[in-house]
């Protein structure tokens, strides 16, 4: 008798339950999308600030300096313009820093703008504003700064990548920072890869299940979670201070340096990515089928012969993939470099493991910390350079991974 009503209520309840279910389904989807939206916002924000309108102010109108526009002059003519418009002493000093004949065209072009024209950035606008409200910006500018010249500028450019650091944002570039990062990565990987793979081979192939080996394994997992800045402090105390004779190059006859060198930073970074490399290499070695080892042993190979000629060749793609991911971690890592003491204003290329250096993320950090808008613009451009480097590294990793899955 009560059965029909009961069915009715449970049907109703089911409808409610299903409705709640579909509402939550949408909430779950939205949560997933928020992550992706944030990623898009981040990329948009960076691209938006890497390009856009700039208002310059000149002390001297560049059109009056020569009979043609400055960008059509040859290098020698530019040197002449420079010589004619700055004091003898100032020119002599520039010549002493680096002879005019040795300087590049871009360098001299920059000098003319910096010293003679006296170019100064009045204001900058992000890309969206520049495209959508150009007329408003122009009107605003003619009212506030009638002298200023408005130009569209791509902060990320070939010049930006090839120029060294400079004190003015519009002449600054990231060449020294890119080279510093490359040096750093080379040293890091040279140290970390053999040791990391060695440790992984030991743990997977040699280690028996005893307390010491268990401790090593737990310890590696724990080290992977230690904040990077703590590694920086370790590097500061050990590599920069305690090992100063080694890291400053004093042992090798380098005199003009302290411990805050590429080598010290590279050693610190190597310790930082070591757990990542070990854990990834362990996974790769684990994936090598046991039958290969048994076959090698069956033919009378020793343990090391088995590892060297059977296990490692088959694990190499996996190890490389893991190492590339570790490198991309190291390229973007900033905090330990700050603590170890990367210099922020370096205008000469790093020339070896014992030179002072700066790195791309350090440059981004210092530029971001500056209050002026134009430094935010070049920070965004430097971030684009960094992201492009990371993207190409990760593409290599993906290609390797695909090859790996095809082979086994």
């Amino acid at each position: 008798m009560s059965a029909p009503t009961l069915t009715f209520t449970s049907d109703q309840a089911l409808q409610v339950r299903n409705r709640i279910g579909s509402v939550w389904r949408i909430i779950f989807l939205l949560a997933t999308c928020i992550g992706i939206i944030s990623l898009l916002a981040l990329l948009y924000n960076i691209v938006d600030r890497s390009f856009g309108l700039v208002a310059y102010e000149y002390k001297v109108d560049p059109a009056t300096l020569a009979d043609r526009p400055l960008d059509q002059l040859s290098k020698e003519e530019l040197v002449a313009v420079l010589q004619a418009n700055i004091s003898k002493g100032a020119f002599g000093k520039l010549e002493k820093d680096k002879p005019m004949a040795d300087r590049s065209y871009d360098d001299i072009y920059g000098l003319v703008f910096e010293r003679v024209v006296g170019q100064k950035v009045v204001a900058t606008w992000p890309l969206t504003d520049s495209l959508l409200r150009r007329s408003e910006i122009e009107a605003e500018l003619t009212e506030d700064e009638p002298q200023a010249v408005l130009q569209f500028r791509s902060w990320l450019s070939a010049d930006f990548v090839t120029r060294p650091m400079a004190s003015q944002a519009e002449f600054a570039g990231v060449r020294t920072a890119i080279l510093g990062s490359l040096w750093l990565i080379t040293i890091t990987i040279t140290i970390a890869l053999p040791i990391g793979v060695g440790a992984a081979v030991y743990l997977q192939e040699y280690a028996s299940d005893n307390p010491i080996n268990r401790l090593i394994q737990t310890n590696i997992n724990n080290l992977a979670g230690v904040p990077s800045i703590v590694y920086g402090m370790l590097g500061l105390a050990i590599f920069v201070r305690a090992w100063e004779p080694l890291t400053s190059g004093a042992l090798f006859g380098v005199t003009d340096s302290n411990g805050r060198t590429i080598l010290a930073a590279g050693l610190t970074m190597a310790l930082l990515i070591l757990p990542l490399i070990i854990i990834n290499a362990q996974e790769a070695i684990k994936a090598v089928p046991d039958s290969l080892r048994q076959a090698a042993y069956g033919l009378g190979a020793t343990k090391w012969q088995t590892v060297w000629s059977h296990v490692l060749p088959n694990a190499i793609p996996g190890i490389l993939t893991g190492s590339i991911l570790a490198i991309s971690r190291a390229i973007g890592e900033t905090a330990p470099l700050i603590v170890v003491g990367a210099s922020t204003f370096i205008t000469v290329n790093p020339d070896g493991p014992f030179s002072k250096f700066t790195a791309l993320p350090i440059q981004i950090y210092t530029w971001t910390s500056r209050p002026q808008d134009e430094f935010r613009n070049i920070a965004a451009a430097a971030i684009l350079v960094l992201l492009i480097m990371l993207l190409s590294l990760n593409s290599i990793a993906i290609i390797l991974r695909n090859r790996f899955t095809r082979r086994l």
Partner: protein, 322 residues
């Protein structure tokens, strides 16, 4: 390294003796090369222990120097609320408080979002949607933290100031750093939780459907509880990442220790403080230098404990369905 098997090592007796079996020596011989290699590989493994010991030694020794200074006392360090080592005010609470505030904000963003995203990816998404959404989320994990710092300062702060008013929100503030940190940790939480959810066997879900549960009920009342240990581990690793994160807070949370509970104000975290002080011209053996290591020790202990707890949770509470 020799790569071909050593043929001379095979006892000749076996070849020559047909019929009479002489004992073949199968005892393990000492091979010097092998032993050296094994020694080297062991050394590689042990290096990690030396790294940990090195961290503990360095942080411990310099902190000890710090606490041995006449003007420094442990009671002040853990009790006072002003941090100005240069004038001997060394209460660590402003730094710890800012770290906790930013981490709390980050977790309150990343845990609900990460868990929801994990449930969606593991329970709802079609394989095709999953193959697009999951790698895209993982891109977030690969972005350097300095880039997130830039994002916090030039995007999130501006949005916060537009919403809550420029008078209420300082340019450098903990909320913006915390929110962006939450976005940074989101992929970590979602991918670790998703792994845990996917590891729950299908039979449990089917049993739940068989009892008439809807998809949502199955997900939240069967699958999530079954994967709780993995989710808890993800949560703790997330906190540990938030506490140790440096660049976002160094750029966006402000420079200068301040004891405040207002998320819209500037305050310096432990990591931000270490980065700012060591980034300047720092003379060794000054009180500033030593104090950094005391802060670093605190940081290391917190993150190390969190990581250990997370590993214990996974090891002990993992439910095995075999």
């Amino acid at each position: 390294m020799e790569t071909t098997p050593d043929l001379t090592a095979i006892p000749l007796e076996v070849k020559s003796s047909v019929g009479t079996f002489r004992a073949v020596n199968l005892k393990k011989r000492l091979r010097l090369g092998e032993a050296l290699i094994q020694g080297f590989l062991f050394a590689c493994g042990v290096l990690s222990i030396f790294t940990t010991l090195g961290i503990v030694f360095v942080l411990g020794r310099e902190s000890l120097l710090f606490f041995q200074r006449p003007e420094v006392s442990l009671v002040d360090f853990l009790g006072a609320t002003v941090w100005q080592p240069a004038i001997n005010k060394i209460g660590i609470w402003p730094l710890v408080n800012a770290t906790l505030m930013t981490s709390l904000i980050a977790m309150s963003i990343s845990v609900p979002l990460g868990l929801c995203a994990a449930i969606y990816l593991s329970e709802y998404a079609t394989p095709k949607a999953r193959s697009i959404l999951k790698p895209t989320l993982e891109v977030l994990a690969g972005i350097p933290t300095v880039v997130y710092g830039y994002f916090a300062l030039t995007f999130m702060t501006i949005i916060l100031r537009a919403i809550f008013g420029e008078a209420n929100v300082q340019i450098y503030n903990m909320a913006s750093a915390g929110i962006v940190m939450g976005i940074m940790i989101l992929p970590l939480i979602s991918s670790m939780s998703e792994d845990a959810l996917s590891a729950v066997p299908r039979s449990l879900r089917e049993a739940s459907y068989g009892l008439g549960a809807t998809k949502l009920e199955t997900a939240t009342q069967v699958v999530v509880p079954a994967a709780l240990s993995g989710i808890a581990a993800a949560f703790i690793i997330g906190i540990s990442r938030a506490v140790g994160e440096t660049m976002i807070v160094a750029i966006a949370a402000g420079s200068g220790p301040a004891f405040t509970f207002n998320p819209f104000q500037a305050a310096e975290t432990m990591t931000g403080h270490i980065a700012r002080i060591s980034g300047g011209d720092l003379s060794y053996d000054s009180i500033d230098y030593d104090s950094l290591f005391a802060v670093g020790m605190m940081l290391f202990l917190i993150t190390f404990a969190l990581n250990l707890i997370s590993q214990r949770i996974v090891a002990r509470f993992r439910e095995k369905y075999e």
